[in-house]
């Protein structure tokens, strides 16, 4: 009887369709809360959300983030408020994708998205600079730096209809 049970199990599994995901051609959809490669977001008018406060770098348990801030002026404005991130680098080989930077960010500038295909043949390629992280300018927005009227963007979180 035992041998028949075993054979039945074999036949049952032989008739099922294979479970393999053909990875490079077909990708499994990740969960909504999955944390992958970071992006730096912008406001709808094209200004960068990052204000260069380095709180993400302070919160990072792996020391993967390096931020260098510089002063904004009304002639060359990158972000609302006083400062912007002149240099923003994340070492993807150091980052453990914990999302603490996301939690620490006061302007919700840095978000961990769903991209995960990260492998490198050189360690230096793993350092992602600001150009590689920042999202493209949204439709209707202007690229940074922008020339704005003095007094429009004095606060780091601007008075917008919906700052999110």
């Amino acid at each position: 009887m035992g041998i028949i049970n075993g054979l039945l199990t074999t036949i049952k599994y032989a008739l099922q369709s294979p479970v393999t995901i053909q990875y490079p051609e077909e990708e499994r959809v990740v969960r909504e809360r999955y944390k992958g490669k970071h992006v730096l977001r912008r406001y709808d008018n094209g200004l960068e959300r990052c204000i260069g406060c380095s709180l993400c770098a302070a919160a990072c348990p792996a020391d993967a983030i390096w931020v260098e801030a510089a002063e904004n002026t009304d002639d060359e404005r990158y972000s609302p408020g006083e400062r912007y991130a002149k240099t923003y680098e994340i070492n993807m080989l150091r980052c453990i994708f914990c999302g603490y930077c996301e939690d620490a960010c006061p302007t919700e500038a840095i978000v961990l998205e769903h991209e995960y295909q990260l492998s490198f043949t050189d360690r230096r390629d793993a350092i992602y600079t600001k150009d590689m992280l920042i999202v493209p300018v949204p439709e209707g927005g202007l690229p940074t730096p922008q020339k704005v009227e003095p007094g429009t963007f004095d606060r780091a979180i601007p008075d917008m209809e919906d700052p999110k």
């Binding site: 295909q117 990260l118 492998s119």
Partner: protein, 170 residues
């Protein structure tokens, strides 16, 4: 290309020896069973039916370094483990490749302390670094594919020579 033009439509494929050998190497690259920490769980998962690394000719995880071509350093390497890692690497026959899987093997990750080697490229030459903590099985397979691309570009005069060690000044 020149020969195929003369042969016409005879059903003969001509290609360079380099391409043929490199193609063969990418299609049967047996990894060594070298799981050190939590990345090993994802490495096992990439062998399991859902991801099935045998689609890339990697179904056999050899326990012996003498029978393996690829070392997947999966996990953090302690200073005590480093000589063992090097010895196992030296015992592997040429040609051999190394994948540093995950943050700890690539650069120490969160473990920036005296006990952990800050990146296995201090000990062995690494070909591909896979980011993630731990990487998903897809990420490891992406690492395999990156390595395949690298192997396909190898020239014949690089076959026999030991590969260069990458040294990064810290």
């Amino acid at each position: 290309m020149g020969v195929s033009g003369k042969l016409g439509n005879l059903g003969v494929v001509t290609l360079r020896l380099e391409d043929a050998v490199n193609w063969g190497r990418t299609r049967a690259m047996w990894p060594m069973l070298f799981g050190l920490a939590c990345c090993a769980i994802e490495m096992m998962s990439s062998q399991a039916p859902a991801y099935d690394a045998s689609r890339f000719g990697m179904e056999l995880m050899r326990a012996s370094p003498r029978q393996s071509d690829l070392m997947i350093v999966a996990g953090r390497v302690t200073r005590k483990m480093a000589p063992v890692l090097r010895q196992l690497y030296d015992q592997m026959p040429d040609p051999k490749w190394v994948i540093a899987m995950g943050d700890c093997a690539s650069c120490g990750g969160v473990f920036n302390n005296y006990a952990i080697v800050q990146g296995v490229d201090e000990v062995v030459p690494v070909d591909v670094y896979v980011a993630g903590c731990p990487p998903r099985p897809e990420q490891l397979i992406h690492g395999f594919l990156t390595l395949h691309e690298k192997v396909k570009e190898m020239r014949w005069n690089e076959w026999a020579q030991p590969q260069e060690t990458t040294v990064i000044e810290s």
